[in-house]
Amino acid sequence: MKVGIVSYGAYVPRYRIKLEEIAAVWGDDAQSIISGLKVKEKSVPDLDEDAITIAVEAARNAVNRGNIDASRLGAIYCGSESHPYAVKPTSTIVAAAIGAVPNLTAADFEFACKAGTAAIQACMGLVGAGMIDIGLAIGSDVSQGAPGDALEYTAAAGGAAYIIGSSDLAAVIEDTFSFTTDTPDFWRREGMPYPEHGGRFTGEPGYFKHVTFAASGLMDKLGTKPSDYDHAVFHQPNGKFPQNVARTLGFTPEQIKTGMVVPRLGNTYSGSCMIGLAAILDQAVEGDRIFMTAFGSGAGSDAFSITVTDRIEEIRDAGPKVEELLENPIYMDYASYAKHKGKIKV
């Protein structure tokens, strides 16, 4: 049985802050930060947006784009590292808000920035086993960096939702491969507002090792090579990491261009490479092959090999494209940004 993407939807809040604005507050050299991170601006949630509202908007975009009867959904899994409730599932609120309740299973996933792709894998399993008709996998975050911490330059908000099924596929997922270890590169303890990270430790043994092993593991399993793919998308904590890992693996700058959303969006954590994939699906044509690898600190990577079908043309224009979500932003200054991020309390 072929399993794949029936429909997809993304969501990005309207607000942005330029990295120059943040650098000015902390007395950092903006140009060296922008060229080091390869990020110019990042999205900021509105005062009444959180990982749940973003998940709902992305899910509604996916349901509407594919003209899906939400009562067909047999599973909803929401991946996030910023679930608004510690106990009370995001997925239940999403299920109610898209009209999928009550005959389905639902749960929240957590795995730093790759919780959403883990949700895709779970849906693939349930669909492939014939246990459900279609399932919904979401990655959504309003990520937080402590004021003045390096993460504050990139921590952004956004999400993407994928409806996984076995018929009416807009893209076939040929296979997936994961690589997981116990690596303390980044963490946040229960009850603490901001994450901690291992500084330089996050790059080499975290991101690069896991993305490389998962990506080459999948290509070995399938007998494919980078040149077999038209597009590739890797987790985008900044613009530099995915460029470097793509080069190491043998992908060209041209292959990663379409899915590279981070320079204008920032790091949307669980949304990151799922929004990148949506940007690719917005433009891909029948037969295009897409290689995706997510990364979550802690640490693990999920790699996917995807082929686009002719149905993409039928559904693509029925939902907002990532490019449309990125254009016409409202720029804010640091003071309004701090209010939006809840850094000042009233």
Binding site: D46, L47, D48, E49, D50, I52, T53, V56, E57, R60, P84, Y85, I93, A96, A97, G99, K339, G342, V346
Partner: protein, 129 residues
């Protein structure tokens, strides 16, 4: 608002689920279980509103109620849905973008919360179409 009272209203707060009288075609939001025109002849069924409509009138709230302080100032409007009924809702945009007759569509947002340990209320707001 009590948790139970919010919970009972989830279908119409999240998804603008109202009712419609199939006898005369009139739409109701909030939902009515009896059509005032057709009375006993009326047949009432659930209706999911599309969420598109226009601003009939509005005001800017500067002093927000408890739980909404961070959102002030905000635009509170009476919105006439395309299917007919009017409702009160928040329109998310700059004050100088607000005008009577503007087209809006519904979005899913946080309405408020009791405290940092209480329940979070979600529901429908509007943005310019």
């Amino acid at each position: 608002m009590t948790v139970a009272r919010f919970w009972r209203k989830i279908p119409h707060r999240y998804n603008l689920i109202g009712t419609r009288c199939t006898t005369c075609g009139e739409h109701y939001f909030p939902p009515r279980q009896m059509c005032p025109t057709c009375r006993r002849e009326g047949k009432i069924e659930d209706h999911k509103f599309r969420g598109n409509g226009e601003v009939v009138t509005y005001t800017v709230i500067h002093t927000a109620a408890k739980g909404y302080e961070m959102q002030a100032p905000y635009n509170l409007a009476i919105i006439k849905l395309d299917e007919g009924p009017s409702l009160t809702g928040q329109v998310i945009c700059r004050q100088d973008e607000m005008e009577i007759g503007m087209r809006v569509r519904s979005v899913f947002r946080k309405l408020g919360e009791e405290s940092n340990k209480g329940m979070i209320y979600y529901g429908t707001k509007f943005i310019p179409e």
